[in-house]
């Protein structure tokens, strides 16, 4: 029993990372109406940009309280956000917006995003190389709780961070003019334009907000395991898409819940099946969802249900 609970706990940690990444992915999906296949590699970019500031520049001294990382991370994460946002806005201006204006349909955008993903992954590999990297090499001790459950301070932080960022995103989408305009653009972009909303500015803002979630989730992934140039396609893309579809396309809260479901079932499955089959779990969830309820658990709109 403890063993299963422990796996659930780790699953929640993994699920928080997948869920935060998936929130960004689903936001882009909702506003831009295409599956952004470069999203996982943007997450990888985020983790390496943080590495650049934290390790390459050398801000990795000390620790914040019980955590494995030091104060430099507070510089590294915003830098990663800025870099990922710049990459998103850049590729949108240079590529996606042109294809959007041409009106050739969303399929071309998806293929373009695959091209971007391939190039981005190779650029990351060319700069930081193939061997896995870590923000820190020393061992990060886990704390033991009642019933023998173990959790590292880092992991506790991630679990806490997830609802915090989710609430922040909720307030942004529902309590600000910009957020409402984002939901309006996702609902009906031509009408938003006809209402006098500057939809291109809304789209830029969407990239910047999605980039924040992406960068934070990327750094979390790097802290939790290690930095790999191919992490995007190998470990992140499929679970994130599974989370997005489970939660309903365009629905950030759905994506978060979907991420947790994916994370927990991935980890708990290892109790019965070989770890090598782990990638099959999100895939099975995804296919099952497509067969049973393709709209997702919570329906697909940025407003969410309720």
């Amino acid at each position: 029993m403890t063993e299963i609970l422990q796996l659930v706990l780790v699953g929640v940690v993994v699920g928080s990372i997948i869920g935060l990444g998936a929130m960004g992915l689903t936001l882009v999906y909702g506003v831009f109406k295409f599956a952004h296949f470069a999203h996982a590699d943007l997450m990888t970019l985020g983790m390496y940009l943080a590495f650049f500031v934290y390790v390459d520049i050398g801000l990795d001294a000390g620790h914040i309280g019980p955590f494995s990382f030091g104060w430099g991370m507070l510089v590294a994460v915003p830098f990663a956000w800025a870099g990922v946002a710049a990459a998103c806005v850049g590729v949108d201006r240079l590529v996606y917006r042109r294809l959007r204006r041409r009106g050739g349909g969303f399929l071309n955008l998806e293929i373009a995003s695959l091209g971007f993903a391939i190039a981005l992954q190779a650029v990351i590999q060319a700069i930081w190389g193939s061997p896995p990297l870590r923000y820190h090499n020393e061992i990060h001790e886990a704390l033991t709780f009642a019933g023998g459950l173990k959790l590292k301070p880092d992991q506790m932080l991630f679990i806490a961070l997830m609802p915090l960022l989710a609430v922040a995103l909720y307030l942004l989408l529902h309590r600000t003019r910009l957020g409402t305009a984002m939901r309006a653009t996702a609902d009906n972009a031509p009408l938003a334009e006809a209402s006098g909303i500057d939809t291109e500015r809304v789209r830029t803002a969407t990239w910047v907000i999605a980039a924040a979630l992406t960068a934070v989730a990327g750094v979390m992934f790097g802290v939790q395991s290690q930095l790999r140039f191919d992490a995007g396609f190998e470990f992140l893309l499929l679970p994130m898409f599974a989370a997005v579809i489970l939660g309903g396309i365009g629905n950030p809260w759905g994506a978060l819940v979907g991420g947790l479901i994916v994370g927990v079932s991935q980890e708990v499955s290892t109790e019965w099946i070989n770890t090598g089959f782990k990638p099959a779990v999100p895939f099975a969830l995804l296919i099952a969802m497509l067969i049973v309820r393709p709209r997702g658990l919570f329906g697909s709109s940025i407003g969410g249900s309720g």
Binding site: R177, T180, N188, P190, E193, A194, S195, G196, S301, I302
Partner: protein, 244 residues
């Protein structure tokens, strides 16, 4: 003094397929003008071209004497022209209040005040401000679409078949509202299939056939015009089926 809105020999369509060939019309301040015509006459295409949703390939659109041909929709809105599309004219996942706020996106400051003003015209919406637009009935949704377009206090309101797919009772309600809007000083240019009711309240009407002007008359006279009646209003029975 020049007309509020003037359409001068406009030609427009989708890509290389021209649907509007040569249409001229004008809209004076405070007027309600209806465009009628058989299916495919180019009525909706004309409205979209005026509002900048489709390119105008020849001719000109003027607002208060200044040329606004091929301006973007968001610029047209800034100049005081609002548009109510026939379908997909609300934000379904947003509440009524949010829909109105988005209609007034370009307003600075007094959005709440303006929402209150607009809602005075639409009391049935005022009661349900937190309801999502997707939960509204057809008539309420249409009312919301018009209310949203009024948020920026436009001089001109372009309406694409505001009563299509509504029951006769709801249709009457919408036409009453539109008259109230006109009394508030907004000029309306409306495309309508339910021609009898629309013409009855119109100051003037244009009949479009094959993308060209065929007739121009005061609304009630157009209604009484035997030729128009034979050519177009005879379709009333088919239209009744659509409307029901």
């Amino acid at each position: 003094m020049s007309a509020l809105l003037e359409v001068d020999a406009v030609r427009a369509g989708y890509g290389s397929v021209m649907i509007v060939h040569d249409v001229s019309l004008r809209l004076e301040r405070g007027e309600l003008v209806t465009i009628i015509g058989p299916n495919g006459a180019g009525k909706s295409t004309l409205l979209k071209a005026i509002f900048g949703l489709l390119p105008v390939s020849e001719g000109a659109v003027r607002l208060e004497g200044g040329e606004v041909t091929d301006e973007t929709p968001s610029h047209m809105v800034r100049l005081g022209v609002s548009f109510v599309p026939q379908t997909e004219n609300v934000f379904p996942s947003l509440t009524i209040r949010e829909n109105l706020a988005m209609g007034g996106y370009q307003r600075s400051g007094d959005v709440a005040e303006r929402i209150a003003e607009v809602l005075r015209l639409f009391p049935e919406l005022a009661e349900r401000q937190k309801a999502r637009a997707s939960h509204l009935s057809g008539g309420q949704r249409q009312a919301l679409a018009i209310a949203r377009a009024l948020m920026l206090d436009p001089k001109v309101l372009l309406l694409d078949e505001p009563t299509a797919a509504l029951s006769p009772v709801r249709r009457g309600e919408i036409f009453d509202r539109l008259q109230a809007v006109r009394e508030g000083g907004v000029a309306l240019l409306m495309v309508e299939q339910n021609a009898r009711e629309a013409l009855a309240i119109s100051d003037r009407a244009y009949l479009l056939v094959d993308g060209r002007n065929a007739h121009e008359q005061p609304g009630p006279e157009m209604l009484a015009n035997p030729e128009v009646g034979r050519m177009f209003l005879g379709l009333d029975s088919a239209e009744g089926e659509n409307g029901a």
